[in-house]
């Protein structure tokens, strides 16, 4: 590395945004080059000078913005929402989404749709009932007496609570981790299941999520749950597949960190294969370093 290249990278070095190899090369160069070390000090001073240029908005600006926003929100509500029963029917339409999620998580409400024809009274409809029923307006039409007929679909909710190790709770969480369409809910389920990763079904669920969940955040959570078992053969195989195949660089980074914690010769082939296809600097450098430390070649022959 020459001085020109080293000096052009100094800002990125100070921001900590260089890959492992680039950083190594520059640090090596700096050790033997007083000019570049002096240049680094100048860039550092420049960064420090710029640090002082940051502005904090006047406190009144935040308070005013909050007040204005609150007022705009209220006025947009009053403009958008019709009054009376129609508005409440609209609220009902909004309400089912999270209820549905809960219902799905419980996995108990597959049945329960009920088509019902109700004749609404001419007076405004009452507020939604307090008991846990998710209602969805499927159809409505004016009736001859000037009122309206609304067809609702209703699903009853059930709430289950108990310790994680209790069989029905664990079974429902395993189902939610695998089958719900909401990644947030899957992530929450995996988060809870991680606490019970000593149980074989939980371990299987974490492995399945790691390799098959479409959402990278959920896969990452599953990977975290597998950390304590990163030395076990089936887990290592799954981690190796993840390392080679997962599209998320964050997950590949986490996978390689776990795999090289306990090195084995079986890892060499995976890491060599990885170097053929990996584009992420961090993952590449970790792989190269591990291969070097295992006295293995960084290429395949």
């Amino acid at each position: 590395m020459n001085c020109e290249t080293a000096q052009s990278q100094l800002s990125l070095l100070l921001y900590g945004e260089l890959g492992f190899d680039d950083e190594e090369r520059i640090e090596q160069h700096l050790e033997g080059c007083p000019d570049c070390r002096a240049a680094k000090e100048r860039v550092k001073a420049l960064h420090t000078a710029l640090d002082g240029a940051r502005l904090e908005p006047p406190p009144a600006l935040l308070a005013d913005s909050r007040r204005e926003f609150s007022a705009r929100l209220q006025s947009s509500h009053s403009r958008r929402r019709p009054t009376g029963w129609l508005s409440r029917a609209g609220d009902w339409l909004q309400a089912p989404a999270p209820w549905w999620r809960l219902a799905t998580a419980a996995g108990l409400l597959a049945a329960g749709f009920l088509g019902a024809r109700l004749t609404m009274p001419p007076t405004p409809a009452p507020a939604p009932p307090a008991d846990p029923v998710a209602s969805r307006v499927r159809f409505l039409e004016p009736s001859r007496d000037g009122g309206v007929r609304i067809v609702l679909e209703e699903t009853r909710q059930r709430v289950l609570s108990g310790p994680l190790e209790e069989e029905p709770i664990l079974r429902l969480l395993l189902g939610a981790a695998r089958e719900t369409s909401d990644p947030g809910l899957r992530a929450d389920s995996i988060d809870l299941l991680k606490q019970k990763s000593e149980a074989a079904p939980v371990r299987r669920a974490l492995l399945h999520t790691l390799e098959h969940d479409p959402n990278p955040a959920v896969r990452l959570k599953a990977l975290e749950g597998l950390k304590p078992y990163a030395h076990e053969s089936d887990i290592r195989q799954a981690l190796s597949r993840t390392l080679l195949e997962d599209e998320s660089a964050s997950i590949r980074s986490a996978a390689i960190d776990l795999l090289i914690e306990s090195r084995g010769v079986e890892l060499i082939g995976t890491l060599q294969e990885l170097l053929r296809r990996e584009e992420n600097d961090y993952v590449r450098s970790r792989s190269q370093k591990a291969l070097r430390e295992m006295n293995a070649s960084v290429g395949t022959f």
């Binding site: 052009s8 800002s11 990125l12 921001y15 240029a53 913005s65 929100l73 990644p183 955040a217």
Partner: protein, 200 residues
């Protein structure tokens, strides 16, 4: 992740708030806004250097969040989603200014006019004439260089240098790759150094 009752991890608290807000709980929405709004306002204020524009970005960003929260499905974090909206609004505003060639380093702060580099001068000991002179010189150069950056460069620099974001997160918020954000930051740092290195 352990979840001690009453002290939920931040992400979990946030997920709960989002779900409640999606159900129409306005208090939860307000809490969600207030988790992020100081940061949003600071970014907009530093980028646009105008109280009025920063206030507009704040209003529009959170109104959009409110309008679209029901369809938010955790395809990315809430933070990333929010900042996609905020950075787009700021970039639009910077581009409009660029077109109008009205770029200026002046901040309208009540009746006073101040600029970013003037703050730097104020931070320095007024009793040291040499440093004061240096700060004045620095102020002019900083003004010049910030004004010459493209809106995108400006955004990447603000997020990396002042907000301390990692390039990966910047790429996610701006809908580009980490590598593209890195190239952009590299260009900015080269420009900064060329303009300011002799003064630092």
């Amino acid at each position: 992740m352990a979840t001690a009752a009453g002290k939920l991890p931040r992400m979990e608290q946030e997920a709960n708030l989002i779900r409640s807000a999606q159900r129409g709980d306005e208090k939860a929405f307000e809490q969600l806004v207030q988790t992020y709004d100081a940061g949003v306002l600071r970014l907009a204020y530093n980028l646009l250097r105008s109280e009025e524009d920063a206030r507009d970005v704040y209003q529009e960003a959170f109104l959009r969040v409110h309008r679209n929260l029901a369809s938010f499905r955790y395809d990315c974090s809430f933070h990333t989603w929010l900042y996609r909206i905020v950075t787009n609004l700021c970039l639009d505003q910077l581009r409009r200014r660029q077109v109008r060639r009205e770029e200026s380093a002046v901040i309208q702060a009540g009746q006073e006019t101040r600029d970013r580099a003037a703050e730097m001068a104020e931070d320095n000991p007024a009793s040291d004439p040499e440093r004061r002179l240096l700060s004045l010189e620095l102020r002019n150069r900083v003004r010049e260089i910030l004004g010459s950056l493209t809106p995108r460069e400006r955004m990447v620099f603000e997020l990396r240098h002042y907000e301390g974001w990692r390039l990966r997160a910047i790429g996610e918020a701006l809908g580009t790759t980490e590598e593209a954000a890195k190239n952009c930051l590299f260009r900015v740092t080269q420009k900064m150094r060329a303009a300011l290195e002799d003064l630092a």
